[in-house]
């Protein structure tokens, strides 16, 4: 966006794994001691990274709501009863459906809008494109506190409170700036010759974008979709403020109903957490190969 652009005109790593040819290997092949230390550090880091996730999965197997206080006893009485209780005796199914609608809608709408913007900013020099990029960055800074009150009153007057549409629009407004930024960086790495070839073959600018660039930008789009989906899937503040009736709750809000002032059903909460994490992890697994490439393009070329 600024003077930093020229510096990274060299293409970022095309793919994570074959990035470095055999030549550089000598550096990586350090002494056995260094290698052992690296493995040690990475194993510890992985344990720290995984432990909270595994821990909540483990707690979810304890049938009693106070089991988290003495996790050792869970081994003797492991059961899936929490899961069946959550799945069949709470509103989980409808919360889940609501979350899918909201997160899916945000992803589709947000990525589409962000992609066209990113492309326009990357390829076309129209008056105002600098200001647009600057605006996109500034919207990243908006604390929810400054927006949440007016958004609440706006949604209330539009009768969009307590519904999906309102949330989808609000979430898109928060994810689109970053996605557009990221995709702009990604489109920059796609050679302009491709656009020119498309133009020579008689495609309109939009046709070029849709038929040639979008298929090539799949890794970048995957990262943008991943980011939008996770943001919407995991958002708490807007959802708990804008959703009023328990039938409309998303998972993030519904989860909190298990832990109220009066009663803390930590076992049910843990089981629900696992059920929430699974789809997110699945989406994540599908895009993780593209993650390094997609993000780098965005981050390095901003």
């Amino acid at each position: 966006m600024t003077a930093t652009i020229e510096e990274t005109v060299k293409t970022p790593a095309p793919a994570p794994r074959p990035a470095r040819p055999a030549k550089a290997r000598r550096r990586g092949e350090s002494t056995p001691l260094v290698r052992a230390l690296s493995h040690g550090a990475l194993v510890i880091a992985s344990l720290v990274a995984l432990f909270p996730v595994l821990y909540i999965g483990f707690i979810s197997l304890g049938p009693d709501k106070m089991d988290y206080l003495h996790p050792g006893q869970i081994f003797d009485k492991m059961t899936f009863s929490n899961y069946s209780k959550v799945l069949f005796e709470t509103d989980f199914a409808s919360w889940f459906l609501n979350s899918v609608i909201v997160a899916g809608g945000t992803t589709v709408f947000g990525v589409m809008v962000a992609a066209t913007t990113g492309y326009a900013v990357s390829r076309m020099r129209f008056p105002g494109h600098r200001q647009l990029m600057w605006t996109l960055l500034v919207t990243q800074m908006f604390p929810i506190a400054v927006l949440i009150v007016p958004m609440y009153t706006i949604l209330a007057s539009l009768k969009l409170l307590d519904g999906y549409t309102g949330l989808i629009i609000v979430y898109s407004a928060t994810t689109v700036p970053y996605c557009a930024w990221l995709l702009k960086g990604y489109f920059d790495t796609i050679p302009v010759e491709i656009d020119e070839a498309g133009r020579v073959d008689g495609l309109s600018p939009f046709g070029t974008f849709w038929r040639l660039i979008i298929p090539l930008a799949r890794p970048g789009l995957a990262v943008a979709a991943f980011y939008s989906f996770l943001t919407a899937w995991a958002e708490v503040a807007f959802a708990s403020t804008f959703l009023l009736s328990s039938g409309k709750y998303t998972l993030a809000v519904g989860l909190q109903t298990f832990v109220s002032q009066y009663e803390s059903q930590w076992n049910l909460m843990a089981a629900t957490s696992v059920l929430i994490a699974l789809p997110a992890a699945l989406v994540f697994y599908l895009v993780q190969r593209h993650l390094v490439t997609g993000l780098t393009a965005g981050a390095a070329k901003s």
């Binding site: 990243q140 927006l147 994490a277 994540f284 993000l295 981050a299």
Partner: protein, 331 residues
């Protein structure tokens, strides 16, 4: 697709970005397309960010709260009765009675929180990225495991941390077995802050690590080879090849890290709920004023929001100027 690439004319590739003169010559249709393509973003941002921003700014000049705002009770519509009071909210927050407890203590803690968290996530992320940038067996497995915290929704893992940090939880169990003190992570003010930083670092490292790993992989290996030939030490290589090579990625992730951490809502809100007055950063404090109490003080909450935004904008413009100057100096 490959066919299209091969058949591409290479003539125009020299100058993909037309200069000012060429720009004037650009056809009307091209601009038309550009505007059509950015229109959705401009509209969405205008309606959902621009308008609320103006509206929110107006609220800061009033004494709006949930008792005098327009609202519907049953079928009865009550119109808004709040009044314009000028800059009174700003004056009250910044130097009114009790402003230290209401604003400045949170301000100091927010700055400390941002600096500490960004430093920790950046350095941890960089260290892990460098470890993973070596030729190691099981690299992709490590990467998968280390990115996992990012894949799981934050509110899920924060609840997990809440269980782990609770009195008698796993963390204190471990500390106790090592003979270390067992702080009350979720109730003691100082320990609350430490817990918040710990959890936020855990949440933020994967993003830093992945971005920096990408940056590291774009540094050509020949540079290191040449350095090794010249007998540079590992530290010299790090100082003179790795850090400069990462400069653009770093400047972006640090900026994003600062913005995101400064505005980090979920960690503190979910870790402590309404319980920890001392550990609230400005964002959660503003939310509490607007939605976490009765009557809801919309005006003060929005004023905090405007103050927060101003702090970030001032910071960002200084940061970018500083970056630009560094860029000059290193040329």
């Amino acid at each position: 697709m490959a066919v299209a690439v091969q058949g591409a004319p290479t003539k125009g590739s020299q100058d993909p970005r037309p200069g000012l003169v060429a720009r004037v010559k650009l056809s009307y249709s091209k601009h038309w397309y550009a505007y059509a393509m950015v229109a959705p973003v401009v509209i969405v941002l205008g309606v959902l960010v621009g308008y609320p921003l103006i509206n929110g700014f107006y609220l800061t000049l009033t004494d709006a709260n949930s008792l005098n705002s327009a609202r519907t009770i049953g079928v009865k519509e009550i119109p808004a009765t709040y009044q314009f009071i000028g800059l009174h909210n700003y004056a009250d927050i910044l130097w009114g009675p009790g402003s230290y407890d209401r604003f400045w203590s949170h301000f100091v803690w927010t700055i400390a929180w941002t600096v500490i968290c960004v430093t920790l996530t950046y350095s941890t992320g960089l260290a892990l990225a460098m470890l993973m940038n070596q030729r190691l067996r099981g690299r992709s497995l490590y990467r998968l495991m280390l990115i996992l915290p990012w894949a799981v929704p934050t509110f899920v893992t924060i609840f997990s941390w809440r269980l782990m940090l609770a009195d008698g939880g796993v963390v204190n169990g471990l500390l106790g077995s090592l003979g270390l003190p067992e702080p009350a992570w979720l109730s003691d003010p100082l320990a609350q802050k430490a817990a918040a930083i710990l959890v936020n670092t855990w949440v933020g490292v994967p993003f830093m690590m992945v971005s920096l790993l990408g940056g590291l992989q774009s540094i050509p290996g020949e540079l290191y080879e040449a350095a090794e030939m010249d007998g540079a030490t590992a530290w010299q290589q790090f100082r003179h090849i790795t850090l400069p090579g990462l400069r653009t990625v770093s400047s972006t992730v640090v900026l994003l890290g600062v913005i995101w951490t400064f505005n980090q809502f979920a960690v503190i809100f979910l870790l402590f709920g309404n319980g920890a007055p001392d550990a609230q950063i400005l964002v959660t404090w503003a939310y509490r004023l607007g939605f976490g109490q009765q009557p809801r003080d919309y005006a003060q909450s929005a004023t905090y929001g405007v103050l927060l935004l101003s702090i970030l904008i001032v910071f960002t413009s200084f940061y970018r100027r500083w970056l630009a100057r560094n860029e000059e100096a290193s040329r």
